[in-house]
Point group: C2
Chain length 203, copies 2
Amino acid sequence: MGIIERKEREKEEMRRLILDAALRLFREKGLDAVSIRNIAESIEYSPATIYLYYKDKSEILSALQYEAAAVKRDHVMPAAAIENPWERLVEFGRRYVDFGMKHPDLYDLLFITRAPMEFIENQQCWTLGMAVHSFFTETVQACVDQRYFKSTDTETIAYTLWCHAHGLVSLFVRERMRMYPEEKRQELAQKSFAMIVKMAESI
Amino acid sequence: MGIIERKEREKEEMRRLILDAALRLFREKGLDAVSIRNIAESIEYSPATIYLYYKDKSEILSALQYEAAAVKRDHVMPAAAIENPWERLVEFGRRYVDFGMKHPDLYDLLFITRAPMEFIENQQCWTLGMAVHSFFTETVQACVDQRYFKSTDTETIAYTLWCHAHGLVSLFVRERMRMYPEEKRQELAQKSFAMIVKMAESI
DNA sequence: TGTGAAAATAAACACTGTTCAGTATATTTG
DNA sequence: CAAATATACTGAACAGTGTTTATTTTCACA
């Protein structure tokens, strides 16, 4: 009865094959290049075959989002090693922004691209994203507990910091900084990060 | 020689007709519904005719962005009437966020939708956007001049505030606040706005 | 080796943006 | 007014998209 197990395995391998092809297309040529037909061609199968392994395109996109979420987690979580909650929070923020700057395509996919409805049902991705988000809010809570802020409204503090970081990255990612010369944008982002850190010290 | 003038006028009317149809489709059914064929059908012309008045689709999108920019300007500029620069700045921010919340589709078009290259060449839209942006930075400058901030780095202050406001709106617009119950999102946004105002007072 | 199930596909449908050859309409000229 | 020209418009096609269905191929098992 090892056959059904092998079949199961092969099915999983095929899903992986499709996903890797999608991921490669995405990273090499951008989201627009990720079409069912492109994926099919690159793995030398017919487009219809894709539908035997993924319900539709948004399910593939959803899977790509999970990949992106994993890369993001690996990028930011080293901050967890820092004992001091305030330093941990700052390092987390720095790493969050750095992730967005280094992987604009992945950041876009995670936080800007219109989420397909399946996103919600993609428990994996949601769970992973929430784990990182929880780490963030818990760190803010730790800062609150140790009186790093005057305010004790953890939720609003966390959200406000997130707004700034997300705004920072997404203005960059979607090219809304044209009024600043290109060589200055990175510098301005760094200055702004430093400023929000200073501001946060006096919430 | 009034004929060429009439022709000119008719050409302009046709461009307007196309744009209005595009705008209606956009507002009624979203950006995805704005297809050349949909526009053509709704004004009862052939799709090919559209191309006699607009170079391509991105030129139409660009024109839509201009419309959105005008709505935004009308929404935020009443703040200019306020004498006190700090109050003016706060009111501007409030109106900016309010615009995004009330017109998520327009905000999306202006600040999130991937800008077609023509955006840069769309002098009208760029000029209009820059005028509002200049008003914003000048207001920040006025605050700096009157020592409302400790910092004198106008550029970074302005950018930091913008980051927060944009992050606030765009997390909302692109539905990245699912971890908060829906009825709480608006409230959280307001609290966060109040918090950044407080924080700004101590830059 | 034949049979039933599983896997893969060709072909079609309904869309998309865009181009171009050809037609219809309006204006200018003889 | 009629013929020639210029302008406005369109049908049809091309290449692409996501998706579905009927059909064929492949494979495991009796």
